[in-house]
Symmetry: C2
Subunit: 211 residues, 2 copies
C-alpha cells in the first residue's frame, strides 16, 4: 500500500490521526502525576516520552496545542514538578482510563483505582503500583511554531525501581518488569527482550552482550 | 532501588548513559536513509522518533550535539530529504550494525547487507527489506539550548507498507508486521499486541476495540 501526501491531506481527520499516531511506533505508556497549587492531584497517560540527554539527565514530553488549559500541563507549569510512572501491562485498562476527561476536581488516581504515593519534600504524586517511578523537575517549555505543540523538558531528580532488573552496566530491563507499552492512542503491547548487542564496529561481526 | 540526583551527577559517564537511555523506554528501531549531494548513500539506526502531529503529519528526531559533522544529519540538511525504515525483528543484527562508524565513502547499505530502493523523483534511499517505508521532507531544525541537541522536524510525504496490517479506522498494527523495537542503545525487543481500547469516558468501563 502506498499512501501519498495528497492522500494524507484529503483523509478523514480521525482516520489520519489514528494512522499517523500508530505509525509513530512503540512507546512506553507513561502516567504523569501532578498536584496543582490548590492540592488537586491528577494522573494522565502520555505516549510521547523522549530521551534528550544523560548529562544532565533530561527527558522531553510533547503536549498538544492549548494543553495549558488542561490539568497536567497547567500543574507542571504552576509547580515545576511532576512524576513519570511506568506500570506493568496487567494494569493497561486503568492506565488507559486516565485519558478520560474527568472534571478538574476529580483525581484520576481515585477514579481508576491507583494509589498515590509521595517522596518527602516532593509534592507531585507517584503511582504506588508503578514498577518505575521518576521524579521530574521542569526545566523549559518550548513551543514549536510549526504546529503549536509544546516540548516540555524536565530533569530527572529521582528514579525508583526494582534493582533486580538493573544490569551491572546500568541497563534497566523494562521487559523483565513487564512494563506496559503503547502504540498510537489506544493500542497496548507486551514486550520480550530479543537481545542486547555490543557496540558495533566497522568490519566486525555483531555480537551479543552476555546477559 | 532509589537513585537520587546526586547519585546521577557522580555516576560513571557510560553507566549513566546506559541507565538513562534504557529508562527512556520502548522505541521503534528506525533506519534513516539519506543520500548526500555527491551521491553517497547512508543508513543509520535511530531510536528517537517522535510524533508531533497528524495535520500536517509531522515526525521529529533528536540528534546529539555536533551531529552535523556526521553523514546522516549533514545529508538531511544538504538535500532536505530522508527516509524512515522499520525492519522486522529478525534483521536486528543488521539494523544494529548500521550504528558502526563507517568512513564517509562507505555505504551502510552494502556493509550490513540491506538493499537500496528508490521512489521516482525522491533521491533518498529506502531499505528494500523494510516492512514500513516513510519518505520525509525536512521542515525545520531547532537547537535545544539546554544541552545542544537538535530536534529535526520533517513532514511525511509517502508511506509504504503491507495493507493487510491496516485496520478500517486507520490503525497500522506494527506488532503484526513483527517490527523491531529497541530500548536504549543496544537492546532489541519483540512485541505482542495486548489490546486496543475504546475512547475512555469518565464513569464508563474501559472496553476493547473489536479487532
Amino acid at each position: 500500500m502506498h499512501i501519498k501526501i495528497n492522500d494524507l491531506l484529503s483523509m478523514n481527520e480521525r482516520y489520519r490521526a489514528t494512522l499517523i499516531n500508530s505509525l509513530a511506533g512503540y512507546k512506553t505508556a507513561v502516567l504523569i502525576g501532578t498536584q496543582s497549587k490548590t492540592g488537586q492531584t491528577n494522573l494522565c497517560i502520555f505516549n510521547s516520552l523522549i530521551h534528550l540527554g544523560a548529562n544532565p539527565a533530561l527527558f522531553g514530553l510533547i503536549f498538544r496545542p492549548k494543553s495549558e488549559e488542561r490539568d497536567t500541563l497547567r500543574s507542571i507549569l504552576e509547580t515545576g514538578y511532576y512524576t513519570l510512572n511506568y506500570v506493568s501491562s496487567d494494569l493497561y485498562k486503568q492506565a488507559h482510563q486516565t485519558s478520560a476527561r474527568y472534571d478538574n476536581n476529580q483525581s484520576e488516581f481515585a477514579e481508576v483505582g491507583l494509589n498515590e504515593e509521595y517522596l518527602p519534600e516532593f509534592e507531585a504524586p507517584f503511582v504506588q503500583q508503578a514498577v518505575v517511578k521518576i521524579a521530574m523537575k521542569l526545566e523549559e517549555k518550548i513551543e514549536l511554531k510549526i504546529n503549536g505543540t509544546s516540548l516540555v523538558i524536565g530533569s530527572i531528580q529521582d528514579i525508583i525501581f526494582d534493582e533486580r532488573t538493573l544490569s551491572k552496566d546500568g541497563f534497566i530491563d523494562l521487559t523483565q518488569l513487564n512494563t506496559l507499552g503503547c502504540i498510537g492512542l489506544d493500542a497496548y503491547f507486551n514486550s520480550t527482550l530479543l537481545s542486547r548487542l555490543n557496540y558495533a564496529k566497522p568490519g566486525e561481526r555483531t555480537t551479543e552482550i552476555d546477559l
